[in-house]
C-alpha cells in the first residue's frame, strides 16, 4: 500500500492503495467514475481509454504508480459547466454510437489525437482509432464526428 496523489478531472485525489492496481478499477470502484468501461482488460479494445497528462492511455493497463502526480481526464470531465465538448456534440449529431459502450473510450482516444494533432487527415484519424473496437459498426459515423469536431475546435481557437 502506498499513498498516491493525482488529479482527476481537475480535482486532487489522494489514495492509499497498491501501486500495481490498474487505473481503470480505481476509477470505477474507488472513485465511482464508471464512464471508462471494461472491455478486455488487456489494452486490446480501447473501451477504458482516458487521458493521462493529455495522452490517451488504456486505463486497464495503466498501473496506479504510473499515475502519481499526473492529470487524469475521464469522459466525465470533458463537458464543462454543463456544455458538451465539441467531440461529444459531434458524436451525438452524427449518431457516432449505437450501444454506446465503446463511446467514452472512442471520444477520449479522439480527444487525445486532437490535442496532439488538431487537424488530422482521415488516415491519421483511422490510424489513431484503429485500436478502439466497436462491435455495433458505428465506425462510419465516428469518423465523420471526429472530422467535424476537429473543424469546430479549430474554429473555436481562432
Amino acid at each position: 500500500m502506498e499513498s498516491i496523489s493525482f488529479t482527476v478531472n481537475g480535482k486532487p485525489v489522494s489514495l492509499n492503495t497498491d501501486g500495481e492496481r490498474m487505473l481503470l478499477w480505481v476509477l470505477r470502484t474507488d472513485l465511482g467514475l464508471t464512464g471508462a468501461k471494461f472491455g478486455c482488460g488487456l489494452g486490446l479494445c480501447g473501451a477504458c481509454t482516458v487521458l493521462v497528462d493529455k495522452k490517451a492511455v488504456r486505463s486497464c493497463a495503466t498501473p496506479m504508480k504510473a499515475v502519481a502526480g499526473k492529470e487524469v481526464v475521464t469522459i466525465e470531465g470533458l463537458a464543462r459547466n454543463g456544455r458538451l465538448h465539441s467531440l461529444q456534440e459531434a458524436f451525438a449529431n452524427h449518431d457516432g454510437l449505437q450501444c454506446g459502450f465503446c463511446t467514452p473510450g472512442m471520444i477520449m482516444s479522439a480527444y487525445g489525437l486532437l490535442l496532439d494533432n488538431p487537424q488530422p487527415t482521415r488516415e491519421e484519424i483511422v490510424a489513431q482509432m484503429d485500436g478502439n473496437l466497436c462491435r455495433c459498426g458505428a465506425h462510419t459515423r465516428i469518423l465523420q464526428a471526429i472530422e467535424e469536431a476537429a473543424k469546430t475546435m479549430k474554429g473555436a481557437k481562432r
Binding site: 492496481r21 470502484t29 488487456l42
Partner: protein, 726 residues
C-alpha cells in the same frame, strides 16, 4: 429523455409491485391516464411468442403508456436497448399517434416489475410486432384524451385538434387544454370497444422522419449506466473459478491461499467456487490463488475436423419447401453445379461482457443484468434461487451490445446465487476470456447445393441441404420449377447436439450461412452461363420487391453488366430477412501478396416497408455491413474439443476502422407496407457479397467463411487462370 437513475430504482417505482392484479397495478401507478388495450391484432406476434415457448403478450390488459401530470409520457416496454435503437423509434411511433413530441416520451425498458411481459429483444421483432400494439395504444389514448378535452373545453371532439400534447378548439384558438391538465389526478380504466384507426402515412409528423439517437447525451457523457455501472450499498465483486474446457469436471480445489487474501471472501456451493471482494481486481488476484484440478475429456473434434464431424452427426432433415420434380430438373438442365459451403463458429463479442448485479431484499431478489431477455431471465433466476417468480425483479440498464448473445443469462444466475449465499449485493462481470468461453456461438455449418440451368440461363433445378445453420433464410426466392430445401439441425444447441459448446442466435441466425451459400451458387451459375451476375439473377426472379432492391442497388452503384470474373473486384448478393428485402453490391481489392481483402465500397438497397426512423435504419444498415466484414473475412473460433482457444481480441479479429468501406444506403419507399425488421437483414449478404467480389477480382472461388488471408493465398496458389484486368 431524462437521465435515468438505476442506482435507486425505487425512486421511480411507486411501490415495487409483486403479483399484481389489475386494480392494484392501477393504484400503484398513481396519477395519470392509463390506457389498456387488447393485443388481438398482434396475432402474428402472439404466434411468434408462442413458437418461442413463451407466454405471449398478456391477453387481458396491459399498460404500455402513462401520461403523467407533468405532461411527460412514459412508454413501458419489455424490449431493451442494446444499440439497435428502439429507444428512439418506439418513442417516435407513440409520439405520432398521441400527437406529442418524441422528446416528451420517457422510455421505461426491460424492467420486469414495470413493463408488460415480452419474450425478448431478438429476431428484428420490435418494430414489426411491438410497434403495432404500441401505436394502437397511442391512438386510443389520444381518443380518450380528446373526449376528456371535449368536456373540458365544451366543444365537440370533431372541432378539436392536438399539437405537442395541447388540445385546442379549431373555432376558438385560445380555448386550449393540455394532456397534462386532463390527466392530472385522474385514472381512467377502459377497454377498447371500437379502436380508433392508426394514422395514415400522409398524416405522419414524426414517423418516417430522421431522428438521431435520443440516448446520445447520456452515452457521450459517460452518464449512461450499464449493468456494471450500477452500485449498491455494501456490494461485492465476484470472480468465479472456470473450467479449462467445456465438459471438464472439477476433481479437487484448494482455496486456502485465496482465503488468506486481505478482504477476500471465498464462497463454495457445489461446483460454484467464487472469490468476492470489494474491488473486482482484488477478487481476480485472489481467484488466481485457487488451486483446482480438472478432469478434462479427450477432444473429439477441432476447428478443422468439425465439418466432417457435423455431417456424420446429422440426423433427421426438416423439409422447408419443395416443388416440381428434381429428376425433371436434372433432365432439363444443360449445366449442373454441385458445391459445398462451410462456415466456422463465430462469436458475438459484444463490447460489454455479460454482467449482472444481484441484491437480496428480504425474500425478494433484484437483478440488474445485461440481457436481451429480462422476462425469461426472471424465471431462470427464480428457478435457480428456488424463489417464486414474482419475488424476482430483473432491471435492464443499457446493454452494451447483444447480437443474440445476451439471451442466455448465466451471469445473472451466478450473481443471484452469490447474493443469496452471502446476503450481500454481488456483481458478476465476465472477463473477455469468460465471454469467449461461454458465448453461444453462431454454429459451424455446412450447405450442399446441387443446381442446374438451361442453355438460356433459366434455373430449373435447386436441391438445397443445410446442416446445423438452421432454416431461417434457407428458402430461395428465385423462380425455379423443380426445387427442394431441407434443413438439418437448428442454430439452437440446447444439449444433445454435436457441438462441443453452446450455440445460439447470432445476428440474423442461419440466414448469414444460407445467404452465403445461395448467393455464391447463383454467381457460380452466372459465370458458367456466361452471364452478368445481376442480369442472371433478374432473369430468374419474379418477386417484384427483390427485383426492386436489386435494380436500385445496381443503379446506385452504377453497375455495368459484364460476365465474370471481370477483374473489377465487384460482387453482388441479395436476400430476405425479417420481412425485409436487401441487395448489396460491393467493390473489393485483393492484395495477392498478403491475401488481404480490402472492401472499398458497399451499396445496399433495402425494402423494409414503412421506415419509422430513416436515420436509425441507416445506421443499422451501416452496422450490419461493418459487422458483417468480420464473419466474412476473419472471424472464426479456434477450438480443441471443449477448449476454446480464442480468449481475446488478439487472436479473434473483429472489424476495425481501417477495414471500413464507403457505405451507401438506399431505402425503397414503401410507406403503405407494414414496417419490417431493420437490425439484421443487411448483414446476411456480406459473406457471398465479398466472396463473389473476390472471385471477380482474382478468379479464385472460396467456399469457406471466413475468407482469411491464408485461405485466399491457398486459393491463389491453386488458381489456373486469372481474369482480364477491367
Amino acid at each position: 429523455m431524462k437521465v435515468r437513475d438505476y442506482e435507486n430504482p425505487d425512486l421511480h417505482d411507486p411501490g415495487a409491485p409483486d403479483a399484481l392484479d389489475r386494480r392494484e397495478f392501477l393504484q400503484r401507478l398513481g396519477g395519470g391516464i392509463i390506457i389498456f388495450f387488447a393485443v388481438g391484432d398482434a396475432a402474428e406476434s402472439l404466434a411468434g411468442q408462442a413458437r418461442g415457448g413463451g407466454r405471449g403478450y398478456p391477453t387481458d390488459f396491459n399498460a404500455y403508456l402513462r401520461i403523467g401530470d407533468d405532461g411527460r409520457v412514459s412508454l413501458f416496454t419489455g424490449k431493451i436497448e442494446m444499440g439497435q435503437g428502439p429507444i428512439t423509434s418506439l418513442a417516435q411511433m407513440l409520439a405520432d399517434e398521441l400527437d406529442v413530441s418524441p422528446e416528451s416520451v420517457d422510455m421505461v425498458m426491460g424492467d420486469t416489475d414495470r413493463c408488460p411481459w415480452d419474450m425478448g429483444t431478438f429476431g428484428s421483432m420490435t418494430t414489426r410486432f411491438f410497434g403495432p400494439p404500441l401505436r394502437a395504444a397511442g391512438a386510443e389514448a389520444r381518443r380518450v384524451l380528446l373526449e376528456l378535452a371535449s368536456e373540458s373545453l365544451k366543444a365537440p371532439v370533431e372541432r378539436l385538434t392536438v399539437s405537442n400534447g395541447v388540445v385546442s378548439d379549431k373555432e376558438q384558438k385560445k380555448n386550449t387544454v393540455t394532456y397534462a391538465q386532463l390527466a392530472k389526478g385522474k385514472t381512467i380504466e377502459r377497454h377498447v370497444t371500437e379502436k380508433p384507426p392508426l394514422k395514415r402515412p400522409a398524416e405522419f409528423k414524426v414517423i418516417g422522419k430522421p431522428y438521431t439517437r435520443s440516448d446520445a447525451a447520456e452515452k457521450v457523457t459517460g452518464k449512461a449506466l450499464y449493468s456494471g455501472d450500477v452500485r449498491a450499498e455494501g456490494m461485492l465483486y465476484a470472480k468465479i473459478l472456470r473450467p479449462p474446457a467445456h465438459g471438464a469436471k472439477l476433481t479437487g480445489a484448494d482455496t486456502s491461499e485465496a482465503e488468506k487474501a486481505e478482504g477476500a471472501q471465498v464462497v463454495r456451493d457445489g461446483d460454484l467456487i467464487a472469490v468476492l471482494h470489494k474491488h473486482p481486481d482484488e477478487a481476480e488476484k485472489a481467484l488466481a490463488k485457487v488451486k483446482a484440478q480438472w478432469d478434462v475429456p479427450e477432444a473429439k473434434v477441432d476447428d478443422k475436423t468439425i465439418f466432417d464431424y457435423l455431417l456424420k452427426n446429422a440426423r433427421g432433415g426438416n423439409p422447408v419447401r419443395s416443388g416440381g420434380d428434381l429428376k425433371t430438373g436434372e433432365t432439363e438442365a444443360k449445366t449442373i453445379v454441385e458445391e459445398t459451403y462451410l462456415n466456422s463458429y463465430v462469436a458475438h463479442s459484444p463490447m460489454e461482457t455479460h454482467t449482472a448485479l444481484a441484491r437480496m431484499d428480504g425474500d425478494k431478489a433484484t437483478v440488474w443484468a445485461s440481457t436481451q431477455t429480462p422476462f425469461p431471465l426472471k424465471d431462470q433466476v427464480a428457478r435457480a434461487l428456488n424463489f417464486p417468480p414474482e419475488k424476482v425483479r430483473v432491471i435492464t440498464p443499457f446493454v452494451g451490445g447483444g447480437f443474440g448473445g445476451k439471451s442466455p443469462g448465466q451471469q445473472a444466475v451466478e450473481a443471484a446465487r452469490l447474493a443469496k449465499l452471502t446476503g450481500k449485493p454481488v456483481q458478476v462481470m465476465w472477463t473477455r476470456e469468460e465471454e469467449f468461453f461461454y458465448d453461444s456461438f453462431r454454429p459451424a455449418a455446412v450447405v450442399k447445393i446441387k443446381s442446374g440451368f438451361t442453355a438460356s440461363g433459366e434455373i430449373v433445378l435447386w436441391d438445397y441441404n443445410v446442416y446445423f445453420a438452421g432454416s431461417r433464410g434457407a428458402e430461395h426466392f428465385y423462380k425455379i420449377p423443380n426445387h427442394r430445401t431441407v434443413a438439418t439441425g437448428e442454430w439452437s444447441g440446447g444439449g444433445g447436439g454435436p457441438h462441443p459448446f453452446a450455440t445460439g442466435a447470432w445476428r440474423a441466425p442461419a440466414n448469414n450461412t444460407n445467404t452465403f451459400a445461395r448467393e455464391c451458387q447463383m454467381d457460380i451459375m452466372a459465370v458458367k452461363a456466361g452471364m452478368d451476375p445481376v442480369e442472371f439473377r433478374l432473369k430468374n426472379l419474379s418477386d417484384e420487391r427483390m427485383i426492386g432492391v436489386l435494380k436500385a442497388a445496381a443503379e446506385k452503384f452504377g453497375w455495368k453488366p459484364i460476365k465474370g470474373p471481370s477483374g473489377r473486384g465487384l460482387g453482388v448478393s441479395c436476400g430476405i430477412d425479417s420481412g425485409t428485402y436487401v441487395a448489396h453490391i460491393a467493390e473489393v481489392a485483393v492484395n495477392e501478396n498478403t491475401g488481404k481483402v480490402q472492401v472499398k465500397r458497399v451499396v445496399c438497397a433495402q425494402d423494409m416497408g414503412l421506415v419509422i426512423n430513416p436515420e436509425g435504419a441507416e445506421i443499422q444498415v451501416e452496422g450490419c455491413i461493418t459487422m458483417g466484414l468480420g464473419y466474412a473475412l476473419t472471424e472464426e473460433i479456434h477450438f480443441k474439443g471443449g477448449e476454446v482457444l480464442d480468449k481475446d481480441f488478439g487472436t479473434y479479429a473483429i472489424p476495425r476502422f481501417s477495414w471500413l468501406p464507403k457505405i451507401e444506403t438506399v431505402f425503397i419507399k414503401a410507406d403503405d407496407s407494414p414496417a419490417q425488421g431493420g437490425g439484421e437483414p443487411a448483414i446476411i449478404c456480406m459473406g457471398a457479397l465479398i466472396a463473389n467480389a473476390v472471385f471477380d477480382a482474382t478468379g479464385v472461388r472460396l467456399y469457406q467463411l471466413p475468407m482469411t488471408p491464408e485461405r485466399i493465398k491457398e486459393g491463389l496458389a491453386r488458381r489456373t487462370g486469372r481474369p482480364a484486368a477491367a
